[in-house]
Amino acid sequence: MTIKIYVPQDSASLSVGANEVAVEIEQEAHRRNEKITIVRNGSRGLLWLEPLVEVETPDGRVAYGPVEPSDVAGLFDAGFVSGGKHVLGHGLTENIPFLAKQERLTFARVGITSPLSIEDYIDHEGYRGLERAISLGSEGIVAEIGASGLRGRGGAAGRTGKKWQEVRASVSDVKYVVCNADEGDSGTYSDRMIMEGDPFVLIEGMTIAGIGVGAAQGYIYLRSEYPHAFDVLNAAIKIAYEKGYLGNNIRGSGFSFDLEVRRAAGAYICGEQTSLLESLEGKRGLVRYRPPQPAVSGFMGKPTLVNNVISLATVPIILDKGSAYYKDYGMGRSRGTLPIQLTGNVKQGGLIERAFGVTLREIIFEYGLGTKSGRSVRAVQVGGPLGAYIPESQFDVPLDYEKFSDISAVLGHGGIVVFDDTVDMAQQARYAMEFCAIESCGKCTPCRIGSQRGVEVIDKIIANNSRPRQIHLLRDLCTTMIDGSLCAMGGMTPFPVLSALNHFPEDFGAAAGDAKVANL
């Protein structure tokens, strides 16, 4: 009997040696005359265990990790091909608590299937959403997305159904669907995991979106830092064309949809949707004034739906299982699930898909088991470089868009970066300003100049150069940036800065009282 062994091909797995492990397993099996086939799957998201090798057994898949090439012979000695015990063994993958306690809807197939097998995709409920979408037609599709309560997962959390309806209602012979795969936020990779681990779900989601809003052309705007995702997407698109899931008259439905991947070029601001559209048109990524909204005048002046990868990859399951099924997960006005990325200085980092409502504390301590360094957790940054730093006293806040907003924080794209007690929060605040200065598109002064001034002011605070006055200046500067910036780059950079200052004044050389006094 041939034994199936899974070795992920996700770039995180590759970055810690998955290819070398796969080669070693192949060669060792050959030496021992064991019949095996290696499947290169996506990652299961248990990233601290990568490279995570799984062996298929009658009871299910058994996990071993993190495996190094030098461990392979020992694994064979221990009989891992039949699920034998080994120090790197974790039993059935499904039962690993980090995974067992998840609600995987968008990520249902990631790590389970072979990413470029469309047969595997279809066997695992793939393309059922499209089938139902075709029978519902445009109006029904948009109604279903609206009823699901889905909100944009790219960061701004706008109502997806509303945006789809606006594009649908825009009258034009040509419309576009653009997938925002710029994923620039530090602490995030869920888009990448979908694109590398289950590319057809994104293709299906975009096809449904095309039918829903009346667009026959789609683009995936992919950051240049994701070369592996680029290859996987292109290979998947080619297969989808060959099998009649893209192109003219998709599966005899009468609908047509073409799809192309476009590479970005390393500018964080191009994740902002109007900057993205400029870039897609071949220009500098300067943010556009709105209105008009992209739904009315987007790519090449035509109505354009811009959605994040996760938003679009969630569409198939909503169409397949129905809006009520999806909406049933979550809390308040945050419906469904959020793929959380637990990253940074954390013992067990990885992808955690959970319904909204789970608390930060549960994520950091029950899934993450605290810091990797073994020191205490001092702060987490949630929602990327424009997201607030959150102190331990606020870890009981549930992951919910409104609850986060209540504490002047954002969920963004669901990235959580953990810092231990060696972090210097004044340096983190400085970096936030520096990043804004590097990545500002330059269109408005409060962002372009304000961020440079911000770096200088924080340097003076750190150097104790008329500190109280500089802290006061920093607050003024933040107010100017918040009030005077055209987009969230300049408008939200003050979030990490002010949260660092307010929650950790001692790092700025100010007693808690001082910071407040300066604020008066």
């Binding site: 830092e225 990253t343 980092g349 990235g415």
Partner: protein, 161 residues
């Protein structure tokens, strides 16, 4: 002859022609050229502008806006070090210092021998295996340490022989 004059005009022309009718074709053209040559030579700007019906200023403006495009030949191996927050939480700043010392380079520099170049990068999407670096265009390394970096450099130098 310097590398600047060395590039293959015909290959560049082919890329331009291929994208002449692509909507928003400038980025695909720049990518195509950089894929082949490793950079976009200043001398190619005129051909790009002519081919896509743009002004040279427009083409220059776009090249300079994006961090990814470079206008000088890259090193044989470019080390991209992630400077973003998740990597910072795992002491990327110390790693950066080590790498700069090891290579004798600051960011955006290329070594005299042309062997190594050093660039900052802001998140490789490998934030749970931080700190992360990337060698050249697609070789990503996670859980990077000073020792691992030194062996990597030794390996690359060995290959160069």
């Amino acid at each position: 002859m310097t590398a600047q004059q060395d590039w293959d005009r015909q290959a560049v022309q082919k890329v331009i022609e291929h994208h002449q009718h692509t909507p928003g074709g400038l980025l695909p053209v720049l990518h195509g050229i950089q894929d082949i040559l490793g950079y976009v030579p200043d001398e190619a700007v005129e051909a790009i502008a002519d081919g896509l019906n743009l002004s040279r200023a427009e083409v220059h403006g776009v090249i300079s806006f994006y961090h990814y495009f470079r206008t000088s030949p890259p090193a044989k191996h470019t080390v991209h070090v992630c400077r973003a927050e998740a990597c910072q939480s795992m002491k990327a700043n110390d790693l950066v210092v080590h790498i700069k010392n090891r290579l004798g380079l600051d960011f955006h520099e290329v070594s005299e021998s042309g062997m190594f170049g050093l660039e900052p990068i802001y998140c490789l999407g490998n934030c749970s295996c931080a700190p992360a670096i990337m060698i050249d265009r697609d070789e990503i390394h996670g859980r990077m340490t000073e020792d691992k970096f030194d062996s990597l450099v030794a390996r690359l130098q060995g290959e160069g022989k």
